[in-house]
């Protein structure tokens, strides 16, 4: 007979360790343990079987892996923590005994620690670090906005500010920004660096409100680690770009001086401010940087069609990105003082534009408002104050954000000062097939695909009379649509598309159901009116997506057969999918209806206001 097995001597009971046990094992206090865990990246785990891990008890405890804790016990940082504990004790004693000499001596020998080895340990390669940089960026950008307060060390805030400015400089130089989204929480950015998609959020200006139930000590510990990591990442990024780190400004203008020749402020501070203005180029380490056009190699691919399409897609994407990078090239912008400066400068400069502001707003302005070559002035007031220049467009700040997300320069008519702005849509939303797409986004997508770029332009000049006409028509149509079945509607939509392509004008009078078609129809109507005079018909560009869809439905029979061939085993799954899709379309239709009603009410209100 073998030895009798005892309970809880193997398995889950021994592979997990509760937090209190861990504290005892490491001989640390709870705050120190927390700090160590955060710095080392050791997180608690939920055991698969709580009762077994907890030796029969079902109390909810915080569990760690025993191996993690054993690994923690080797950390040299623990020793530093202990030293610091003793240091604090001795210092307290010296201060209490009114012994300033001893206190000063102790302060001079304050134990310090570095986190370099932890960064290396947690991120063995540079790409690993980049993959996890989202958190670091968020924390740094957030801490950089903190005011002077008791709970946070000012040095940390300054360091965060410096690191975030450096990172922004990198993004500007490498032109890796891709998306921006101004939300009510803050501004979301997306950049692609070395193939990694990086998202981060920057708080709005003056938006600090201290939350009550957030442990500042914990957040400061996170920031401590992330600042170290971001410092090294910045170094490497700058190095890869051939720039000097810590960054230097390439042009250095003299400091402002009084008439007597005294410096108005400290040189270092001016340097930092200038750096934070984001408006100057940085010094390159090597004088000649080979600007390699990293075009994707054109391999003769003899393999499958799928592979080639993939490559083709990638190339297209790269081309689009290249185009996006020079979105604002050649534009000269000027921003007024009520506009969030940093965000706009960051965006405009990372897409190749030039930007400046009034000298009284911030340091680092390169030209004044009276510069004649300014193409756009960004203003966020209901009307233009002072002198108005005819040589430039006056637009609201949202124009810049929307241009980036639309990946083209949008017409400025919608964004004039005092105008009711079109909605600012999130570029982070990817609609799946059958999802509801708001009409604004649809028109934007069309524009991007080049379907009706010209139409969108003409939309701007649409008269209000026409709009009213359409409202009436829509009423009729909507009543008709309500009676029809959902499936029928779908069918109608498809038919409509095909017909539109063929005939253009006549079809739309009869069965234009969906609102998002409205804009295009109006344009087509215009073109028809012109047709009477001109013999040559204006060609309508055919969108690739639509033609593909048409192909798909022409093969409806084939599809039906394919459905019939599905084995019973998979049939259920197929039905489920179809059901889901239908539900989605139903919801989308519902939303469209709602939107239509809303638009109508709005238009009526607008009409009433105009009549008054």
């Amino acid at each position: 007979m073998g030895k009798m097995k005892k309970k809880f001597e193997s398995g889950a009971a021994t592979s997990y360790i509760s937090r209190n046990q861990a504290l005892k094992k490491l001989q640390l206090t709870l705050p120190d343990f927390r700090r160590l865990c955060i710095l080392k990246g050791v997180y608690p785990h939920e055991p698969k079987n709580k009762k077994r891990a907890n030796k029969g008890s079902t109390a909810n405890k915080t569990f760690y892996y025993l191996k993690d804790i054993q690994f923690l016990s080797h950390e040299p940082l623990i020793n530093k923590f202990r030293q610091f504990k003793i240091f604090v004790r001795r210092l307290k004693k010296a201060v209490a005994k009114n012994n300033p000499e001893a206190a000063a001596r102790l302060r001079d020998n304050k134990p310090l620690y570095e986190l370099h080895h932890l960064v290396k340990e947690r991120y063995p390669t540079f790409v690993d670090a980049l993959r996890d940089i989202d958190d670091a960026l968020c924390m740094c950008f957030l801490f950089a906005t903190f005011p002077r307060q008791k709970r946070v060390y000012m040095e940390m805030v300054e360091l965060c500010r410096r690191l975030s400015v450096e990172f922004m400089h990198y993004v500007i130089c490498s032109k890796s920004l891709k998306k921006v989204f101004v939300s009510i929480k803050g501004i979301y950015y997306q950049a692609e660096i070395m193939g990694q998609t990086i998202n981060w959020i920057v708080p709005h200006q003056f938006s600090y409100n201290p939350p009550l139930d957030v442990d500042f000590r914990i957040m400061a510990t996170f920031t401590e680690f992330y600042t170290t990591a971001l410092g090294f990442v910045n170094f490497r990024l700058f190095q890869l770009l051939g720039m000097h780190y810590p960054p230097n400004l390439s042009l250095w203008t003299t400091i402002h001086r009084t008439e007597q020749g005294e410096e108005l402020c400290c040189e270092e501070e001016v340097g930092n401010e200038r750096m934070a203005a984001l408006n100057q180029l940085l010094e390159m380490q090597t004088t000649s940087v080979e600007e390699e056009e990293a075009l994707p190699d054109n391999f003769p691919l003899g393999s499958t069609a799928d592979d080639t399409s993939h490559v083709e897609e990638a190339r297209k994407e790269a081309e689009a990105h290249k185009k996006l990078q020079s979105l604002f090239r050649g534009l000269k912008l000027f921003i007024c003082r009520e506009v969030p400066r940093e965000s706009l400068v960051f965006i405009v400069r990372s897409f190749g534009g030039e930007i400046s502001w009034d000298t009284t707003v911030c340091i680092g302005a390169t030209y004044g408002e009276d510069e004649e070559s300014i193409t756009h002035q960004i203003i966020d007031r209901p009307s233009i104050l002072g002198k108005q220049y005819l040589s430039r467009y006056y637009v609201q700040p949202q124009w810049v954000y929307d241009c980036v997300n639309a990946r083209t320069l949008l017409p400025t008519q919608d964004y004039l000062p005092g105008a009711v702005l079109p909605p600012h849509l999130s570029p982070f939303v990817d609609e799946a097939e059958g999802d509801y797409i708001p009409p604004e986004k649809q028109s934007l997508l069309n524009q991007q695909q080049g379907v009706d770029g010209a139409i969108a332009m003409s939309r701007q000049s649409e008269s209000s009379v026409e709009d009213e006409e359409y409202a009436d028509k829509e009423e009729r149509e909507s009543s008709a649509a309500e009676s029809s079945d959902e499936d029928e509607e779908e069918g109608k939509e498809d038919e409509e598309e095909e017909e539109e392509e063929k005939e253009g004008a006549e079809t739309k009078e009869e069965n234009a159901v969906v609102t998002r078609k409205r804009r295009r129809n109006s344009a087509e109507k215009e073109s028809v009116q012109k047709k009477s005079n001109i013999a040559v018909e204006k060609g309508i560009p055919e969108s690739k997506a639509q033609s593909e869809r048409a192909d798909f439905f022409s093969n409806k029979e084939e599809k039906k057969l394919a459905v019939m061939m599905i084995p019973r085993k998979r049939k259920r799954l197929y039905e489920k999918i179809i059901y889901g899709q239908k539900r989605k379309t139903r919801e989308a239709l519902k939303l469209q209806e709602k939107r239509k009603a809303h638009d109508k009410v709005k238009r009526k209100q607008g009409g009433a206001a105009a009549a008054e």
């Binding site: 993690d68 001079d108 040095e155 929480k185 996170f222 600042t227 090294f232 966020d380 708001p438």
Partner: protein, 427 residues
């Protein structure tokens, strides 16, 4: 007359008492006489000239007072300034003439200067140099502490220092840390670090997206309310309020529920007699030993037959090996499927926040602006929510931090209060 002493009455017939007689006046008189004799006879007998002098100078009272000049006032020495005047008793300071002045001067110099002049002795000089060095080191150290942390090298560059060392030696001397457990490299949750809100949270949202956001927020709120209502139903609603609280009467009624009262007595007994759960076994119903034995025999026989049947079946199974294999395959397939299902289920819950402590993670409220709160322009936008809290919750959601409740500092002992009697409060 009070101060005149009363004469003491003493009998003078005894020699002893003679001393008590006061004879001072007689003696004084005699003494006076003797003085007069010594000084040239009594004054009464002397001539007037020898006794008196004719006064020829006018007295101070009768003299005419001359007016005092300003100068004279000035010359009056005040008592308080007397100290300032040179004291003739104090000797003047003696200045040594024959001393080596340079060494003194050097000693008076600050140590730094002394070092320059070369006056210091070697030991002192060395000490001074050490002090200097320490000062520089301290300054450097302080600079290091105060200066911003700047990365000065590429952290990810290959360095082979550690590899050259012996593995064991490096581990023991902590020059190399033991390799981290493999699961440390995995993310605890697949939730992204930055979750971008839906389009409805845009500062200038489209109507549909905004409505969608409001709808989700409402759904959440309703669900929360429902849950709260459920808890209330199970707790507070279970107890009566003040109006419906039990009185003595109701209590009595409840306690006597089910007790046999006078009129119900008879019926109750009937019921019990009929259907007793374990009726007593009567003598004639008891099993005989023989019966028991037979029953056992029967049972044994049945068991035997059953076993034979099973054995036979097993023997026969050798001919259906193929079908058995099939069965096993099917079983394995089933197990595999179940495993897959379980994995799928696990994957589904992978991104859900886990239970990491006594407190459950609660999804924070959605940040939104109501339709009337939406700002017209970026300038008038009032940010919603706190980003710091957002980050904190994100860490909790990603299982990096365990959810916690804010701990208030609780005093262990109650503070004692005293009243100082000398400073009693005036009532």
């Amino acid at each position: 007359m009070a101060d005149v002493k009363k004469k003491q009455k003493v009998s003078k017939n005894k020699k002893k008492n003679w001393r008590k007689v006061d004879i001072t006046d007689v003696e004084e008189h005699l003494e006076e006489k003797r003085l007069e004799e010594r000084t040239g006879g009594p004054a009464a007998e002397k001539p007037d000239k020898s006794l008196f002098v004719v006064d020829t100078v006018a007295s101070a009272e009768h003299q005419e007072v001359a007016p005092k000049s300003v100068k004279s006032y000035k010359n009056i020495k005040l008592q308080c300034f007397q100290n300032l005047e040179p004291d003739p008793r104090i000797q003047p300071a003696k200045i040594k003439r024959n001393v080596r002045i340079d060494s003194i001067k050097k000693k008076a110099l600050p140590v730094r200067k002394q070092l320059e002049v070369g006056y210091l002795r070697p030991a002192k000089r060395q000490a001074e140099q050490q002090r200097k060095k320490a000062k520089v080191a301290k300054k450097e150290k302080m600079e290091k502490i105060l200066s911003p942390v700047v990365a000065t090298y590429n952290l990810w560059e290959e360095d082979h220092n550690c590899e050259e060392l012996d593995e064991h030696y490096a581990l023991v001397t902590k020059k190399k840390l033991p390799s981290a457990p493999s699961h440390l490299k995995q993310r605890p949750s697949e939730v992204p670090a930055v979750e971008v809100p839906t389009g409805g949270a845009s500062y200038n949202p489209s109507y549909d997206e905004h409505q969608q956001l409001l709808r989700t927020a409402t759904h959440r709120e309703l669900r929360k309310l429902k849950q709260q209502r459920k808890i209330e139903r199970a707790t507070t609603d279970m107890f009566p309020d003040r109006r419906n609280a039990p009185t003595e009467q109701t209590w009595l009624h409840e306690m006597s529920e089910g007790l046999a009262l006078a009129d119900e007595d008879v019926e109750q007994e009937d019921v019990i007699a009929d259907g007793f759960p374990n009726a007593p076994v009567r003598a004639h119903e008891r099993k005989v030993r023989q019966k028991r034995r037979r029953e056992q025999q029967e049972k044994r026989l049945l068991d035997k037959i059953k076993k034979q049947k099973v054995d036979k079946q097993r023997m026969g199974e050798i001919y259906r090996l193929r079908s058995i294999r099939k069965e096993i395959d099917e079983h394995e397939k089933c197990a595999e499927e179940r495993k897959q299902l379980k994995l799928e289920k696990l994957a589904k819950y992978k991104n859900k926040p886990k239970r990491l402590g006594s407190i459950k993670y609660v999804e924070p409220d959605l940040e939104l602006k109501l339709s009337e709160e939406l700002s017209e322009s970026l300038r008038t936008l009032k940010p919603e929510g706190s980003l710091l809290e957002d980050r904190f919750r994100s860490f909790q959601k990603r299982c990096i931090l365990e959810p916690r409740r804010r701990q208030n500092i609780v005093k262990k002992y109650k503070r004692k209060t005293y009243e100082n009697k000398t400073h009693r409060e005036v009532v």
